[in-house]
Amino acid sequence: MTVDSQGTATAGPQDAPGRAAGKSQTPPPSPGPKEVLQPPRGRRSLPSGVLPYLLVAPALLSMAVLLLYPLIRNVILSFQQLNRKEFITRETVWTGFDNYTELLGDSDFWTVVVRSVVFTAVNVALIMAIGTGIGLLLNRLGKKMRLVLSLALMFAWAMPIVASVTVFRWLFDEQFGVVNWLMRTLGFSGYDQHNWFETGFSTLVIVLILLVWGSVPFVALNMYAGLTTIGSELYEAAKMDGASGWRTFWAVVFPNLRSFFMITTFLEIIWIFKAFAQVYAMNLGGPDRGSETLPVFAYIEGVGQFHYGVAAAISILTIVMLIAVMSFYFRLILKEEEEL
């Protein structure tokens, strides 16, 4: 995904929770292949010597070299001064915590932090609210209408990030954009040649719309898939008891899908907070660096300003914040696992 894909392939992580289980118990049935006719049986463990280690070695080795090592290098770089001069002469200048103290005392950095946090919060709140709403709607629609809406959602979900950014630039084009036309048609004045990318704020609003548009399908369709697992007798019972729709949601739907809501919310927080392509490709962090979120800030600080040491420090601080969120996410998943 989305988001990821944000996209799309971001469908990955969600696989984790359920299937993460199955250490010694029965693993949950895999959703994919229909060819697998029987439910899985318990895993029989066989003594196997060095074979398992040989089998996992290539995977571990490649992750160590191309994931762990870059992470460590990132930490090391954040303790160095690496500006234009050092970059060209390739010398190593250690500066201890200078990059961090400089950053933490810099109001620009805090502006970007606040911006990223608010941006993420608004985004995730909208995505979850709209996604849930559409999921519930899908559940109540007739067959045909449901197919139409799901298909439309699928298209939005599947759009590659860079392509969707390009399309949004065209939709919101100053001269010939269809959005300006729509605003005029609806009778708003001042949209003759309205520049939607005039300020950092307006740029981020467009990015927000893009992210919501691209992420809602994931939540809505999975929400709907989750709803179908709730037996209709629960709704019937709620109806018998005279519960209102709002009440039914909180008393029947939410408790049943609690882990879905929690896990999806955290996933969206992670995805939105580290979203780079959408923010950067929309307006290169501009105008006047006004639409930079943390990942874009790090990139521009490094590549644009030639402050690679500082950029590395920004990355590390961003990763620390992400890890804080992820720890909640992992706790949720591991708890899931025990329950299974």
Partner: protein
């Protein structure tokens, strides 16, 4: 924009059809469908419009389609280099990941060994790796090793990006194959390796297929890494071609939308093909049941 049009359905299967509520909910669904599909539709339709019907203040909805824009888009210098690079990088990464993940996921799903749990945890964490914020370090490492503008390097990075997910999914698929099948093959005289090749592997084919297509989508979507590492024109992929298109072609939106369409088409096709699995995978994962 979608926020304004979202109805909040409050009752679940409580009313009979043909009431005001039923009309409202169908109408709402229709509006939502239009909102979600519009950008994709607009991309397609703009890409087929002649120049003068794009550069107008009032958009044209009925027009005679032309492939002029596609000619412009594919006519840029190095277009086929970008195509080749994109395909090399994505397919290379996915195939590598498949081979490496198959071994690892077999071990995790079927064999008992010390440290298994730890490896599972590592894979889970690697899945969430914040690649977007690791570009600076990756750049320095590539620079030191003369691996900037290198297609193999990019392939390897994408390989590790899709690896954890591939291990995860394959692990699930392998675990779903009953052990008894494998044992029966061994009783019939197969070695362990043969049992895997002849029994498990054929059953895995659909799983391998969907897993690799998801990997393909991830790699196809990647932007931050290629932006940072491959600045040479010759070593770029379609992703950068598309983002730089606007700059290069000023306001030739017709050609830009043709480029977007070409870029999006493979993924749209693959995705619609996979849609059931995309949603199903989530339910099995996050939602118990």
């Amino acid at each position: 924009m979608s926020a304004a049009t979202t109805p909040t359905p409050q009752k679940l299967r409580t009313r009979k059809p043909l009431t005001v509520a039923a009309v409202a909910k169908n109408l709402g669904a229709l509006v939502l469908a239009v909102v979600f599909v519009f950008p994709v539709y607009w991309m397609f339709s703009s890409s087929l419009k002649p120049q003068h019907e794009i550069m107008t203040k009032d958009p044209v909805f009925v027009f005679t389609p032309t492939f002029e824009n596609y000619k412009t888009a594919t006519g840029v210098d190095l277009f086929w280099t970008y195509v080749t690079n994109s395909l090399t990088v994505t397919i290379g990464a996915v195939l590598l990941a498949l081979v490496v993940a198959l071994a690892a996921s077999f071990a995790i799903a079927r064999l008992k060994f010390k440290g298994r749990k730890g490896i599972v945890l590592i894979v889970m964490m690697a899945q969430m790796a914040p690649w977007e914020v690791m570009v600076i370090a990756m750049y320095m490492i590539s620079r030191e090793n003369d691996l900037l503008n290198s297609i193999p390097m990019l392939t390897l990075i994408y390989f590790v990006m899709v690896l954890p997910f591939t291990i995860w999914t394959l692990r699930g698929f392998i675990a779903a194959v009953p052990v008894e099948l494998e044992e029966a093959a061994q009783i019939d005289g197969c070695t362990r390796g043969q049992a895997f090749r002849k029994v498990i592997f054929p059953l895995l084919a659909p799983g391998l297929m969907s897993t690799s297509l998801f990997g393909f989508i991830t790699a196809w979507n990647e932007f931050a890494m290629i932006l940072m590492l491959n600045k040479d024109k010759e070593s770029q992929t379609l992703t950068l071609w598309l983002t730089q298109f606007q700059t290069a072609f000023g306001s030739d939106w017709g050609a830009t939308m043709a480029a977007s369409t070409l870029f999006a088409l493979p993924v749209l096709v693959v995705f619609l093909f996979l849609q059931r699995k995309a949603v199903g995978g989530m339910t099995a994962g996050a939602v118990k049941g």
